[in-house]
Subunit: 230 residues, 2 copies
Amino acid sequence: MDETLTDPRDEPLPESLSARDRFDKIHDDMRSRICLLEYPPGMKLSETELATEFGISRTPLRRVLARLEDEGLVTSVHGVGTMVTTMDMAELAQVYRLRKELVLLQTSLDTVPPSPALIARVEQLLGRAEALKSAPSAKEFSMLDRDMFLTLLDLTANAPLRLMSERLYFRTARIWLQQVTASQIDLMQEIEIYAGEVQDILDALKLGDLDAIGHIRRGHISLSFARMQK
Amino acid sequence: MDETLTDPRDEPLPESLSARDRFDKIHDDMRSRICLLEYPPGMKLSETELATEFGISRTPLRRVLARLEDEGLVTSVHGVGTMVTTMDMAELAQVYRLRKELVLLQTSLDTVPPSPALIARVEQLLGRAEALKSAPSAKEFSMLDRDMFLTLLDLTANAPLRLMSERLYFRTARIWLQQVTASQIDLMQEIEIYAGEVQDILDALKLGDLDAIGHIRRGHISLSFARMQK
DNA sequence: TAGGATTTGTGCGTATGTATT
DNA sequence: TAATACATACGCACAAATCCT
């Protein structure tokens, strides 16, 4: 499969973007690289190299790094460097426990009824999950999970809840991928389970049963973490 | 009462702080000014003036402003300026609904048993609440509420929950103070109610009943918002 | 212990965008 | 419409901190 088709990162850069748009684009880009383990935990990032690559100076790039640090994805030390953060099990467990609670809120606080468009998107995601069964790929799986998460986030209109949930998600997404890549988790089994979860969620969506979705997801998050711990 | 005793903001600046410490100090300072309405919503902030006041250049100050913008307290527009944000009722309602859920988590997720030191701190806070009855002050009340919030946050060890709760709190604290200052809320009545809440929480703390604390707080947040809406 | 190499943090001049006259 | 004023955004050179030899 052609990588440029699945990874929209290498799009030709639009000519003139506003400063804000540039910031968002570079930030999302860097975040993706970290979450997809292109920049694995512990890796040292060079401000000057990144600035050169993005065609900007260090100043705006440092703003991106500052935000990534605020989000817990990198850490900068004066005179030493900027490193991608690692997470120990205790820290990971804290995030997972909180995420388990937040998914319930995502389908109970300021909810919006699922639109046909949203259901169609989930049906497409289910297709991607089924396709993964015959062509397993940890990275593709990771991207699917991310898209699924962002899609279901549209079930709530509560802006601060959306923001916090998103941050927590991107904080831990890479750790799971890391475990899979290290073959500590059986990828094929994860894909099977995941496809089942998407199917269950799709069924609940069509019935408009948001509460069920919350608890389905909560259960899967809990189980996923349990499998990871073993 | 001597203002310098209650407001630690005007401390003599320690000679040499690390870059990180300077950042934190200036950030907390700016956040206090915004939350205590020294910088009211809509006010335009000058980068150069602030940089001069803090004795630094615009570069590190801009990093502080960037974080405050990320926290939703200010907004910067290229060519226009940096303004303190305002909040409409719909947005405020969203934050309050989420905060109502999070206070429950603060006393149910990764909880730590209340230490004697924490109980002592709350007893001191109760003293401040009682003192406010004879000398009402909206600003003092606001600072008391902030200290109470931060104290009770120690009941959970879940770091991401602590961080998110803190951000949400500082996002809305100033709005309540604004309503009081505009005399749309009866300050004396609020103080009476608040002192009662602190007393209830203190009793529950001594019994080690964290669950009760969560629901007491949730109820008060709900009622407080209801009084604000009228 | 000392000194150089490397990296992040800071200061400042300039470019760019916006509003007003 | 154009020009002027003023604000944020940017680029670059230098300072400060850390690490290694």
